[in-house]
């Protein structure tokens, strides 16, 4: 995993900042999808899932409506399956709502090359034909390899190729923070 052997050089977001960032993203998402019906918040496994849950909870509190949600695992849709890497652990996907006609907001922790969200879009499409797909990332670290941009960004940071960004979340890592480190 990315956490192993990572030499942390700086913390770019602490718990309080993360909360504020997510709050702002929530408002942006509401502003954008507010008039739309059939909205669904979908977290990309693994660390997109708790972020999606937080966003979902806040949207439901603020808008006082029930919003559909789900999780998606992209292991089976990766494009680097045969590149000599260890086969990724597959986890279950879970989209228990009608994808046809839904306005889906995909949530992930970090956008980097764009290949993960490409795979996630393909995965969602296998469940049906959504009306639209939007994409929110807590951190945008640049270095895109595909023509894909997020609709909602928590924080954009400049990083080098030899650096890595790691998001720590209470639900998984017992604390909230985002760090940059050397690989």
């Amino acid at each position: 995993m990315k956490r192993k052997g990572l030499n942390i050089t700086k913390v770019i977001m602490n718990a309080e900042e993360m909360e504020r960032t997510i709050n702002r993203m929530v408002h942006e998402i509401i502003e954008r999808v507010g008039p739309k019906k059939n909205v669904a918040i979908v977290g990309i496994r693994t660390r997109g899932v708790p972020i999606a849950e937080r966003i979902l909870k806040k949207i439901q509190e603020l808008e006082k409506v029930k919003v559909a949600s789900g999780t998606i695992d992209i292991a089976l849709y990766r494009d680097d399956f045969f590149k000599g890497l260890a086969s990724p652990e597959v986890g279950p996907s879970n989209l228990n709502f009608n994808v046809d006609g839904a306005n889906i907001v995909l949530i992930d922790d970090v956008i980097y090359t764009g290949r993960t969200v490409r795979a996630a879009i393909d995965a969602v499409m296998d469940y049906g034909r959504p009306a639209s797909i939007m994409y929110a990332a807590l951190v945008d670290r640049g270095h895109r390899e595909l023509p894909i941009q997020p609709d909602f960004v928590g924080k954009a940071v400049q990083t080098g190729d030899n650096e890595a960004v790691a998001v720590y979340l209470k639900e998984i890592d017992d604390e909230d923070k985002v760090v940059v480190g050397e690989k």
């Binding site: 292991a75 089976l76 399956f81 260890a86 086969s87 597959v90 296998d126």
Partner: protein, 304 residues
Amino acid sequence: MKHLLGIENLNRDQIMHILETAVSFEEINQRQIKKVPTLKGLSVINFFAEPSTRTRMSFEVAEKRLSADSYNIAVSGSAITKGETLSDTALNLQAMAPDCLIIRHAVSGTPHMLAQIMDCSIINAGDGFHEHPTQALLDAYTIQKKKGRLDGLKVALMGDIAHSRVARSNIHLLTKTGSHVTVAGPATMIPKDIKKLGVEVTYDPKEAVKDADIVMMLRIQEERESGLMYPDRREYAKFFCLDEKLLSYAKPDATVMHPGPANRGVEIDDNIMDGDRSVILEQVANGVAVRMAVLYLLLGGSNS
């Protein structure tokens, strides 16, 4: 892991990893679009030199749902009927650069031989009296779903143990995961040294079934001279057919399994086969997910 030749050479962790991976594939089989692009561009040859409905279909469904290209060879339509040796056939198939070969053959050890002369991954889909690893894996997957565990269970395995590759693979698997296996059948159908695999032996079906969590019946294999080992079907059924009475010795929540094809009224009674304790069709459904997991783990990445 490059090949799946048998359960005997797997360890407990490898077995559990395959079963855990299968959970994710089960979900795909319930979707409206039952297909993922994971094995796109890979070629898988299904070479069944013995009759098969379930296993062959199950592998083909698994391959197609993972987007692999699958090719089927039937012996009757192949050059084997013209006298080509199996190893020559294998080398010619190898020349077409497949990524995986699924092999079923009446001779024990055929998959192992092919693994030595071919470059692709080999999956044993049943070799002679030896092993049928994916059957044992799907049985284990079904047991785990039903009972929530694979250790500490009392399993009765009944029928033609001598000729059953399903029995051998299941014995290896269930003893490795810590369950207690008792085999039963007519004395002519129990191999002399079967105890060496860590099972208990009895010739009394009631004793085998007593307090069992799982009752696994095996098929009377008439194509493999098991016909010579008992007087006739009726006589066999009288002692070894799993009916209400025999099953009443098992735990009340016992699960009944059969790898199929079943001889109704011979090794298993209609009422039991179609009854609510039978998971025979669930075994078939789970087989697809388990075979998808095996293909995924063997063909994906450099290790696992």
